[in-house]
Structure formats: C-alpha cells, structure tokens
Symmetry: C2
Subunit: 238 residues, 2 copies
Amino acid sequence: MNKVRVDIWSDIACPWCYVGKARFDKAVQELDGKVAVEVRHRSFELDPNRKPGDTAPVVDMLVKKYGMSRAEAQAGEYRLQDLAKAEGLEYQAEGRDHGNTFDLHRLLHLAGERGVEAEVWQAFYAANFADEASIFERDRVVEVAVAAGLDKDEVVAVLDDPERYRDAVRADEAEAAALGATGVPFFVIDEKYGVSGAQPTALFAEVLEKAWNEQRPAITPIAGAEDADACGPEGCAI
Amino acid sequence: MNKVRVDIWSDIACPWCYVGKARFDKAVQELDGKVAVEVRHRSFELDPNRKPGDTAPVVDMLVKKYGMSRAEAQAGEYRLQDLAKAEGLEYQAEGRDHGNTFDLHRLLHLAGERGVEAEVWQAFYAANFADEASIFERDRVVEVAVAAGLDKDEVVAVLDDPERYRDAVRADEAEAAALGATGVPFFVIDEKYGVSGAQPTALFAEVLEKAWNEQRPAITPIAGAEDADACGPEGCAI
C-alpha cells in the first residue's frame, strides 16, 4: 500500500459530517508530504425513510421529529454555526431545508466513478450548509453537480433513473451497519481503525500517522524462534 | 484474505530445510479444516558461488569448506539422519552429494507457474536426501522434475537457458537479505511474522493459528473517539 485509505461514511444532511470532514481535511493537509491519504465517500442516510421531495425547514423537522421546542432546535443550529465557523466554514443557522439525500448519494457514486468525488462532495456540503438556496431541489442539484465537474446529461440521467447507483448506496449502508456504525460521520482508516464523530483534527492526524507507520511493518520474529536449527553460508547448526 | 500465506525460503541442499518443512507440513495438516494455508517456495542458495556441475560428496565438502574432521562431519550427518527419521523422513547419511542448486531453484519457479510447486519441491528434497542417486546430475534432475509433474521439454528448455527464472531466484534472495534472513529455512507468515529454522510443529501451528485469527480483525475503535459529536437517526448530538 502506498496510501492510507480512509472510508468516510456520512450524509450531506449531517452537520457534524460537514464539520468533521473539515477537521479531517485539515489533518490530511497538516500531514501533506508525510502521509499519503486516499479518501472514499461512503453513503449513510440520516433519514432514509423520508420520501424524495418531502422537504421541510430544518428547525420544523427537528421540532416535529425529535419533539424539541422551536427555541431549542434553533439554538442548536446556532451552536452548530459557531462550531462550523471555528473550522472556517459558513453555516446558515436559519432557513436551511432538510430532506431525503438518496439522490445526492447516488450522484456521489457517479462522481466517484468520474474522478470528481471530492469536488462534488464538498460542493453538496457547501450547497446544503453555506448557501441560501436549498439543495433539495432538482435544478439546484443539477447546477451544483455540474459546477463541481459532472456532466449535465449524466447527472440528469442518474436523477431520472432511481435504480442507478441504488445498489452502491445500499451496499455502503449495509457495510456501515455491519461495522456497527449507528451515526455519522464514521471514519474507517485502512480497514482497521474506526473513528466516530467529528473528532478534533489532532486525533485524525494521530490515527492517520499511526496507520501510515503500520503500513511498513518489520517482520516480527516469533519469540523463541530466532535461534533454531538452520543452515547458512557457514554451514548447518548440528 | 482467505488463507494464511506462508513464504518459505529454503534450499534443496539444506538438511534443516528438509526437516523443517516436514514439521511445518504437519502443523498445516493438524490445522486442516481450521486454518487454510497457502505456501510459496522462495529461493535461497546455501552455496551460490559454487560452480554449476561442481559437486562433491557432502562429507568431503564439510571437511574442506568448514574445516571439520571427517569423523565430525560424518557424525553430523548421522545426527541429521536421526532427526529426519523422527519426522518420518528417509535420509542418506552417507554418499550424498553437495552442489550448486541454482538450476533446481529455477525449476521450482517454473513449477510454481505450472501449479506443481509443492510436488516438485518435495520430489527434489526426496531426491537429494532420501534417494541414493545424486540430484546434481542433469538427467536425474529432468527425471525427478518430470515425474513430479513438469513437462519434459519445458524442463530441458529451462536447464538449457540459464537466464530463465534467474531474476526470480535473485529477487527471492534479495528479499531474504532485505528481511535479514542469513540462514534457512526461513518462514514468513502473512508478510508479518518471521520464523527461523526447523522449529517444532507446535510452534508452526501456533503461529499459523495466530495469523489466521488476526485476519479477521474487528475494526478497532480509537480510544476517546467513540462518543464524539455525531448525527444518527435520532438526531444530532448538540
């Protein structure tokens, strides 16, 4: 292996994923030249049972789905805005929409095949959290995806056919479940280490370096098995 | 991975390799049905500077090369015979020849490509240690290799062209040197554990089981990174 592989399960609708990804990206940047990292987006829907097109203002959704008071829900959004700001990210604390992200995940799989996964991923985050326009409208999705490097006809074709990349999304979700991930972001480093949540940059850096160093293991001599009967250029021990 | 991979550096002229391989094979047999093992022969010449065709009775070689007395050298061969017997192996304590094994290694690489590596390997050992006829004669090499499953024309073609599989033999030897192996047999289990010498069967079994169990690692949660800020189906921690 030449790179540390990181699988990141997340959802575009997930504020902690947005923040966590920025913290993770900083760790990768800090390690630039020291640790080579290969990131792969993996799908996880926070609200898989919501119907496509069924959108609602985030605060309304929080009130309805989780029984929060409106003030509580709104305060949470402002706290997230502060945390996002601390990472240099814009965050619309008011007026954001919530919705089903299945189509966004399918497009992210298309983006993965076209070599623009990182770009589309970041563009979807920005469109959902930083922009005033809602990402849960088809025209906006097309616009953002194309601006990030996807072909318009391909984007439209994928959106028109819900079978396209459906299995890829479902496979990611099944794998997350098999790994015991119940929330996102969820990072798996070199298929070995699991990191849950929007951890500090320093923690990501530590795990990345650890995985990197472990990719170059010396052969471990088995204790008691170094001095056995063997033959060498100087003859056989006998 | 579905199998434990074991790379075994050894030489056909190496008595401890002959004995050690039998002990290792017993461990594999004992673990049959529990641990799947894939073995690969790797080349290591005990006497790489000896000219092809320059053969001598083993005892003469020991006296000349290592300055042993003839009685000492012969006694060593009898001790090896006893140790081989304990593993159910025949061993000619008298009359064996020593020589350059480069051609045998090249043929073992051919055997690897033809899917009969295990057969040819074992046949070369038997021919060198158990049979009265010397393996260091071309006709005998051809006879043994063909009986073990190689095509006669191919065997002859490889023997006629010293370039064939030369690089493969040299690459194995370079890798052994890089791993710090100065004698053989040298076993590397799953590119991870090194075992030197003709160790007891129980030790081989232990390392094989260990490697096998380690092939199914659960993802290791990074300490302090289990309870972080994340979003799940029940909302976002905030």
